[in-house]
């Protein structure tokens, strides 16, 4: 299953999703495609007017440009995701979009999409192990549900 991770640039969550046997939907790929695109010349992230326009499907034109740019980058991830793992209150080093409003709004968009979603709070220390266990259990359930759906289709 395609599992969206949030924060969307979290290497740890991406790694956990892949270990759980799923495809991680993360920002690194989207950014990678942007920066490798030889046709675009808008360093450092190659975010262009088109990205901001794409965000307009979800946010108003009144929103500040930085918020539109962030949501514009995240829109393809949202539209592709079949499930998601959201880690709230994580420190910036864990993964971060750097904008509290974009952060809250994107989490809202994920919830509104109605896909299977696990929300875990980052509490650090020993609690982090519990969070990892919860994530792995969620990913295992997704695998089982995926198999069940496939066998239902076959039947």
């Amino acid at each position: 299953m395609k599992v969206l991770v949030y924060p969307p640039n979290s290497l740890i969550l991406t790694d956990l999703v892949e270990r759980g046997g799923h495809e991680a939907v993360a920002l690194m790929r989207e950014i990678g495609e942007h920066v490798r695109d030889a046709e675009i010349d808008a360093p450092p992230l190659n975010v262009t007017e088109e990205d901001l326009k794409r965000a307009l499907r979800y946010v108003s034109v009144e929103e500040p440009a930085g918020l539109k740019g962030r949501i514009g980058l995240l829109v393809p991830l949202l539209e592709e995701a079949e499930a998601s793992v959201i880690l709230s209150d994580a420190p910036p080093t864990f993964g971060c979009m750097g904008c509290a409003v974009a952060d809250e709004f994107f989490k809202f968009l994920i919830r509104k999409k109605g896909i299977p979603t696990l929300e875990v709070k980052y509490e650090g220390g020993d609690k982090l192990e519990e969070a990892v266990e919860a994530i792995m259990a969620f990913l295992a359930r997704l695998s089982q549900e995926g198999k069940a759906t496939k066998s239902e289709k076959k039947g």
């Binding site: 499907r57 946010v59 108003s60 034109v61 918020l67 809250e104 709004f105």
Partner: protein
């Protein structure tokens, strides 16, 4: 007085609340804050799926939920501060939330320090019409012989209708509104083979409707939003279900979401001439082509070029520079059409969920290049009905037959 819920954040601190109250009173609206308990705020945020950092925005969501339980409220006005990122999100969420649960008309606006009185007036007046004239707006057929006049800021249009058919029409650029209307009335009557005394009732709409209405002794005078939505439904014969109406005129534009031919959410442009027919007129002049041929010229374009600005001044400057750099006229014509379509999309269409079918009316609907750009942008076919430039005149001619 009609009770309209004000669901807002920041109007008191922006120093503009008095202006809303003042204009509301003039158009017969009693602005009220829906009653709610502070204990309901958390549940409301959960219901809408979003909790804001600003408590006032959370209260705004609670008022929206509470409003649905008050049957005396007939409309809603949503207001948050311009450029408030969270406020804009909440305003949009509330609009969608209400729209899914009620058919009452809703308008939204952004608080700025010096709001233009005319903009607020136009919105509240349209809201009042949609609430108080609903039974008239339900009319789906013109009867008898009536005349509809649309005294627009750029052109004046008139139609004579007989038994639900247009039998005469006339239009011309608006100069002195009274002189222009006399001339278009004469043209429309001549086309219909009728005399003024044959006309049973006259309706007026458009910017100049007050002056013109008095001049022609109109039987009905209505603002444009409700009339254009009705006109679009009549011209397409799509009287049932949802529709989106795009109206781009000579100097302003409107985006209206309608249900059963009656507007219920709308967004008015008019801040910038770059998204109006006037921009295309100036572009045609620079391209040395008549405005009626600009759209066809744009359809011949094979190479994409964009203008560097949407602005009437700098966009046209960019157009001249593009022409001087050797770009073909058809590619520049397409760029001008794209510029208008893009600006309408960014400032208006994207703020609402577009509900098919999309009906394009107003003078600019006759410029095929703009229709094509909208279709590419939205990925759906757009209907331009016959006589699309007469949507306002047809709407008011039909409505006045029910007075």
């Amino acid at each position: 007085m009609t009770r309209v819920a004000q669901i807002s954040c920041g109007t008191e601190y922006s120093g503009i609340q008095w202006l809303f109250n003042d204009i509301a009173e003039k158009v017969g609206i009693d602005l009220v804050y829906p009653e709610m308990e502070l204990s309901q705020v958390d549940a409301a945020c959960k219901g809408l799926g979003f909790t804001a950092e600003s408590p006032s925005l959370n209260m705004m969501m609670a008022r929206a939920v509470s409003m649905l339980e008050d049957p005396t409220i007939k409309g809603a006005l949503l207001l948050t501060c311009f450029k408030c990122a969270e406020g804009t999100i909440v305003k949009d969420l509330v609009r969608r939330y209400l729209h899914e649960r009620t058919d009452i008309p809703i308008i939204s606006y952004s608080n700025v320090e010096k709001p233009k009185e005319i903009e607020i007036y136009a919105r509240l007046e349209a809201l009042a019409t949609l609430i108080t004239r609903k039974s008239l707006l339900m009319r789906e057929k013109q009867e008898g012989i009536t005349m509809g006049i649309d005294s627009g800021s750029s052109t004046t249009k008139a139609v004579v209708m007989k038994d639900d058919e247009i039998v005469g029409a006339g239009w011309q650029p608006t100069t002195d509104p009274r002189k222009s209307v006399d001339e278009v009335m004469e043209t429309a009557l001549k086309g219909a083979g009728l005399k003024r005394s044959d006309i049973e009732a006259i309706g007026v709409t458009g910017h100049g409707r007050e002056l013109v209405g008095e001049h022609v002794k109109a039987d009905l005078n209505l603002e444009e939003v409700s009339v254009i939505a009705k006109g679009a439904a009549l011209l397409t014969k799509l009287h049932k279900g949802d529709a989106t109406v795009i109206d781009i005129g000579g100097m302003n534009n409107k985006l209206i979401l309608s249900r059963d031919g009656i507007a219920n959410i709308f967004n008015l442009g008019g801040i910038c001439g770059g998204s109006s027919g006037r921009f295309l007129e100036v572009a045609s002049h620079r391209l040395d082509v008549d405005i009626s041929e600009l759209g066809q010229l744009a359809l011949k374009s094979k190479e994409k070029h964009d203008l560097q600005s949407y602005c009437m001044v700098f966009g046209i400057q960019s157009l001249v520079v593009t022409l001087a750099s050797g770009v073909k006229r058809e590619d520049v014509a397409a760029a001008a059409c794209r510029s208008v379509a893009n600006q309408v999309y960014e400032n208006q269409i994207q703020e609402m969920e577009v509900r098919p079918p999309i009906i394009f009316v107003g003078g600019v609907s006759l410029v095929e290049g703009v229709k094509k750009e909208f279709e590419k942008m939205l990925g759906v076919d757009i209907i331009v009905p016959p006589n699309s430039q007469y949507a306002g005149a047809v709407g008011i001619a039909t409505l006045v037959s029910g007075v």
